[in-house]
Amino acid sequence: MSQYYTATDHFVLLPAILLALFGCATLLFDFLIFPEAKQRRWLLVFLVLGEAFAGVAFWRQQSFLLEHGGNLTAFRGALVIDHYALFFHWLFLAATLITGLISYRYLEVRDEHHGEYYGLLMLAQTGMYFLASGTELVTLFVGLETMAITFYILVGFLRADRRSNEAALKYLILGSLSSGFLVYGFSVLYGISGSTRLSEIAAAVAARDAWDPVLVLAVGTAGAGLMFKIAAAPFHMWAPDAYEGAPTMITGYLATASKAASFALLLRLFVGPLGPARESWEPLLAAVAVLSMTIGNLAAVTQTNTKRLLAYSSISHAGYILLGLVAGSPTGIKGVLVYLLVYTFMTLGAFLVLTSLARQGMAGDDINDLRGLMKRAPGHALWMLVFMVSLAGIPPTAGFLGKFYIFWGLIETGHYTLAVIGAVYAVVAIYYYFRIVKAVFVEPEEAEAGPLTVSLGTRVGLAVTGALTLLVGVYPEPVLRLAQMSISR
C-alpha cells in the first residue's frame, strides 16, 4: 500500500474499520433505507452482520497468530494484536451481540429509536477495540473517550425518562473529570519517557525508583482515572445512579463490556510499563480493592432497586478483580481474565432477565417486580437462579472459578489477609443475591402481572449466557487455556 499504511496495518485495523463502517451505515440506513417502523428489525440484522464480519476478521487474526506465533504490531507501535487483545475482542463482540439482540423488544416497549442505538453500540465497540489493542497513550485515550462518550449517550437514551437524563448527566460530568485525571497521568508518563509508546515508557519506568515522586504522581492520577472507569471505590459514586437510570440492557453492557475494556487498559498499563513500579502501586490498589468490596457489598444489602443492587455488586466485583492484579502472579492475572469473562456472561444474563421484565410504561427494575417470576416465566426464573448463584460465587457455576483463581493467586503470593477479607465479603454477597432469588421463587406474584412475552433475541441471549455460565463452571478447561494463552506473551 504505502509507507504510511502497510498491509499489516490494514490487517490489524480491519475489524475496527468494519465495526465503524457498519455502525455509520446503521445510522445512515435508519432514515435512508428503513424509515418505516416495520423495517426496524433490519437494523438489528445489520448489527449481527457487522459483528459477523468483525468476527471473521478477528478469527483471521487469531489463526494468523496461532500459525506464526508472536504478535502483530502496526502503525509504528500504536496498535498491537496479541492473544491478550484478542481475548478482549471476543469478549466485547459477545457482549455487544447479546446486548443488541435483547434490546429490540425493550426499545419497542419504551418507544425509542433503533438506528442510533445499534449504530452507537457498534461505535462503542470500536472504541473498545482501541482500548484492548492500543499500545500508545494517545490511541488509548482517544479510544477510551470514544467508548465513554458513546456510553454517555446510551445511558441517556431514554430521553423521556428523567432518571435516564439525570444518570447521563452525572455520568458525563464525573466521567469527564476522571478522563481529566487519566490524561494528566498520561501526560506525566510522556514527560518521564519522552514518548507515548508503551514500550518506551516501560524502559523509562524501569530505569526509575518505584517511589520516584513523578512516577508516583503519574501512577496515582492515571490510576485514579482508571478506577473511575471501572467503578471501584472511592471513585464509584456515579455507578449506582448511572446504572439505575440507564436503559436496562445498557446497564448490563456498561457493567460488563465497558468495565472489561477499562480493565484491558488497566492490565496493559499496570502489568506492562508500570510493572517495575509495583512496589508503589500495590498497596494503593489493595486499599482500593478492599474499599470497593466493603462499600459494594455492604451498600448492596439495603438496596430495593435491582439495578442499584447489581450496581453495588458490580463495584464489589471490581474489587475482586483488582485483587487479582494485586496478587500479580500469573495465576492472579489469569484469574483476572477468567473472572472478567465469567462476570461478563453472568452479569449480562442477569440484566437480560431484568430487561425482559420491562412492560409498557414501567421499567421493571424494582426488586418487587421480580416477585412470582417462577410462575410467570419459569425458564427465566431458573436462569436467574443460575446467574445469582454464579454471581455469589458458589460452585459449580462459573463465578466460583473466577474467585477461585483470584484467591489462589493471593495465597500463592502471600496476601493471606486480603484473601480472608475477600472470602468474608463473598459470604455477605450471598445474602443479597439470595434476596433476589427469594423474590423470584418464594414471594407471591403481583396481582396484575401476566405471563411474560419473550422475544427470540432474549431466548438466544439467555441460552448463550446461561449455558456459558454453567458450562464454564463445570468444564473450565477451554477458558483456562484461552486465559493462559492470553497472558503468555
Binding site: 499504511y5 509504528r76 490511541t139 482517544v142 462518550i149 449517550i153 519522552g194 512516577l215
Partner: protein, 169 residues
Amino acid sequence: MTETVFFYCFAALAVAGAILTVTMRNAVHCAISLIASLGGVAGLYLMLHAEFLFAVQIVLYIGGIMVLFLFVIMLVNLEAAARERQFHRSWVGGLLCAGGTGAMLAWFWLRGAGTLRLPPAVQPTPREGGNVESLAMVLFRDYLVPFELASLLLLVAIVGGVMMAKKRI
C-alpha cells in the same frame, strides 16, 4: 529576556483568565475571561514556535467554540440561574480542594523536578521557516490512528448531541 517577559505575560493572562472564568458572576463576563485565557495559551504556543497550533487555537477556540458559547449564553435565560447561589455557596470547600490538589501536585513536582526527559522540539525546516510540515508528518504518520479515531469520536458526539436535543429524530 524579551522571551521571558512575554512568557510571563501570556502565562499570567492564561491563569488570570481561568480564575476569572470561575469567579465572575455574569456568564458573558465568564466567557470573555475564558477567551482571554485561551488567548494566553495561544500566545504560549507562539512562543514555542508552534505557529500552526497558535493559529488553530485562535480559529477554533476563540473564533469558533467561544463564539458558540456566547451564542448559547445570550440565547438562554440565565437570570434565574444567576439568582440561585448554588455554585458560589461551596466556594470555601472548592478553594480548599483546589489548594490541596495544587499543593500536592506542587510537592510532587518540586521533588521530581528536573528528572523529566522530553524529546527535543521539532526544528523548523529551512525551506518553510516553520514547522507546519513536521506537524503534518506527526499527525498523519506517527499518530495516524488516534487522528482518524478522533473523527469517529466527534461523529459519536455529534450524533449524541443531535439525539439529545431533538424531540423527534
